[in-house]
């Protein structure tokens, strides 16, 4: 596989990472709509995508994630702030001078061109020497496994194939930066997981390409991304590696959006040795940011909650008692909905011979180190930006 070349011609100094890669930097980017800019769709975003990194912008619809991507592409002009690709400030540049590759949800293959012409489009537009074009087209189609379809029209291809061609079209220009805007959301679930693996393979083959990946699907983000930036209501909520966000979420929003979480309102005990929850004491590690008496949210992943009062190995544990309200069978696990003093607690327990039934009283336990405390003040915008 050939090494992709960066397309930013005005770079003044060598980038930090080896190879001709360029990252992306959002520098206080703010986007507003409306005649007087009264609707803020993206609020002072500070974020860096390192060269060669896959960063997923994860958030619900309307969170501003697609807007952020479109400021990099040049389709949206920020009201304030700068966007940099590599070391080049591209804020005022029109889209065609930014040197990016882009794939959108609805593929947008040119219907009047054959697959090969679609892939060649970017090369022709950039005045690539004519002799080079067939080779580059073949290479891009090879990379995405679509070489056999070069002579077809887009309408003769399935959705997954069209998406591969769209990817080939974006990669043919050897962009330093690849923008993927919900690229898999138009595909059905099975195709999607196949394409996810394919994208991961492509990124291994093109380690210098920085990828900004917009998605509302946490599985896609967790699978593919080196880091995830969580957006909600126009603001960056949290940013970190998938493991960090999953194991140590900084906000309630992150906890509930990345994976499933039990979120229980607790108060830090005066001796800071644990917390009070609904009149009972729980032993959990209290972080430095929390003073005695402070309100906090205890975040606990359902699969880390076990059945019974104590763990089998007899280690330290916290016990919760409650009543099962609902049981969902999920193949390998049962998801129990348990009401603990009116608070809903989810527990994913391995399948067992006797299925617990709704109405049963039950004891649950969890290890202190599996619980994460989130300060109550950090539910909205308090996340520190990475």
């Amino acid at each position: 596989m050939p090494a992709p070349a960066a397309t930013a011609p005005t770079r003044k100094e060598a980038p930090a990472a080896p190879g001709p890669a360029s990252g992306i930097r959002f520098d206080g980017v703010r986007v507003t709509y409306g005649r007087r800019g009264e609707h803020t769709v993206l609020d002072s975003l500070d974020l860096t995508v390192a060269p060669g990194e896959v960063l997923a912008l994860l958030g619900p619809s309307g969170s501003g994630k697609t807007t952020a991507l479109r400021t990099v592409a040049g389709f949206v002009q920020p009201a304030a702030g700068r966007v940099l690709i590599g070391d080049r400030d591209v804020t005022g540049l029109p889209p065609h001078r930014r040197g990016i590759g882009m794939v959108v949800q609805q593929y947008a293959l040119f219907p009047h061109m054959k697959v090969a012409e679609n892939v060649a489009f970017g090369l022709r537009a950039r005045r690539t020497p004519r002799a080079e074009i067939p080779g580059r087209v073949a290479e891009a189609l090879e990379m995405t496994g679509m070489a056999a379809y070069a002579g077809r029209h887009p309408r003769e291809l399935s959705g997954g194939q069209q998406q591969r061609v769209a990817l080939a079209r974006a990669l043919a220009i050897r962009p330093g930066v690849l923008l993927l805007d919900e690229p898999l959301s138009a595909l059905d679930a099975q195709l999607r997981s196949g394409m996810l693996a394919e994208l991961a393979r492509l990124h291994r083959e093109l380690p210098d390409v920085s990828i900004l990946y917009v998605t509302h699907d946490q599985i896609e983000a967790l699978t593919l991304a080196d880091r995830i930036a969580v957006l909600d209501r126009a603001r960056l909520q949290d940013c970190g590696t998938p493991q960090e966000l999953y194991r140590r979420p900084r906000t309630e929003f992150t906890a509930s959006f990345v994976g499933t979480a039990n979120l229980l309102p607790v108060t830090v005990r005066a001796d800071r040795g644990g917390v009070d929850f609904a009149g009972r004491q729980l032993t959990v590690p209290v972080g430095d940011g929390l003073a005695g008496g402070a309100a906090a949210t205890l975040c606990l992943r359902p699969h880390l909650v076990g059945l019974g009062e104590r763990p089998h190995d007899g280690g330290p544990g916290n016990t919760l008692r409650g009543t099962i309200t609902e049981v969902q069978w999920r193949g390998a696990t049962h998801r129990l909905y348990v009401s603990v003093d009116g608070h809903r607690v989810l527990a994913d327990v391995p399948e067992r011979r006797r299925t617990p039934a709704p109405g049963e009283d039950i004891a649950l336990h969890f290890a202190p180190e599996d619980a994460v405390l989130i300060p109550a003040g950090l539910t909205e915008d308090g996340a520190h930006h990475a």
Partner: protein, 265 residues
């Protein structure tokens, strides 16, 4: 299609033919029959002769047909260019500007075409812009009258065009001109040919504005048809009308063939 039961569907079909045949088809068939007729004493023309066609083939009818075709070609091409240009330009403007442009292009449709003809005659009858008595004033009048339709069809097609195509093309490094020629116009081609056909047909049949302005050496076919029937040569008029109809249909057919080639989805 919207009617579920079989008998109801048959009734709807009957109603359609009951309205369509006498209002649309029959008059045209009668014209065709009249163009071959030797006499017309009963309800329908009778007899069979090619004499009328022989007459018009020797007269100046061929010139008039050529004049009509040339006028229609020039007018529809100019109108298509201007209309497409305006539609593309209006797309990038604010909503208010767009509405003003829409209204301006609607003006020639809203104003009776006789008035359009008269106003052009009055406006261009004095130097330095002396067009009165030239073929150009006829072409100009037709252009003014059909540009609105070109503008409207292209505007409608543009609003249906997914902006993702344009954006993807720009993202891939295509300059705006490249995007226009390689992506937007090819995607608009079906609508452009449809608009061209509409403009051509409208111009081929235009009479009222033309009557106000045509010079003696640039006499389009509709004017000649009117003149022929006006002086009582009904059969000649019918033969001329058939020639006009056939030519227009032929051009439209050719355009629609082009269109099927150009439609992708």
């Amino acid at each position: 299609m919207l009617v579920p039961s079989k008998s109801a569907r048959r009734a709807v079909h009957l109603l359609f033919f009951a309205l369509f045949v006498p209002v649309f088809a029959l008059p045209l068939l009668v014209i065709v029959a009249a163009s071959f007729a030797t006499g017309w004493s009963g309800a329908l023309p009778s007899g069979a002769t090619l004499a009328h066609y022989r007459d018009i083939a020797h007269g100046d009818a061929l010139d008039a047909l050529l004049t009509s075709v040339l006028t229609a070609l020039a007018a529809s091409l100019t109108a298509l260019t201007a209309g497409t240009w305006a539609a593309l330009a209006a797309e990038k403007r604010t909503r208010r500007t767009r509405r003003i442009i829409d209204a301006l292009f609607l003006l020639p449709v809203a104003v009776p075409s006789v008035v359009v003809g008269l106003s052009l005659l009055v406006a261009f009858s004095r130097p330095p812009l002396l067009l009165n008595g030239t073929p150009q004033i006829v072409i100009l009048a037709h252009t003014v009258l059909v540009t609105a339709f070109a503008y409207q069809s292209v505007t409608a097609a543009l609003t249906r065009l997914d902006p993702a195509y344009e954006q993807c093309a720009a993202g891939l490094g295509a300059r705006p001109v490249h995007v226009l020629w390689r992506v937007k116009l090819p995607l608009l081609l079906p609508s452009l040919t449809a608009a061209a056909g509409l403009c051509f047909a409208l111009s081929m049949g235009e009479l009222s504005a033309t009557m106000m302005i045509y010079p003696p050496d640039w006499l389009p076919l509709p004017v000649q048809i009117f003149a022929a029937t006006d002086r009582g040569s009904l059969f000649t008029g019918a033969a001329l009308a058939v020639a006009l109809m056939a030519t227009t249909l032929l051009v439209l057919l050719g355009l629609s063939r082009l269109r099927t080639k150009a439609s992708y989805r």
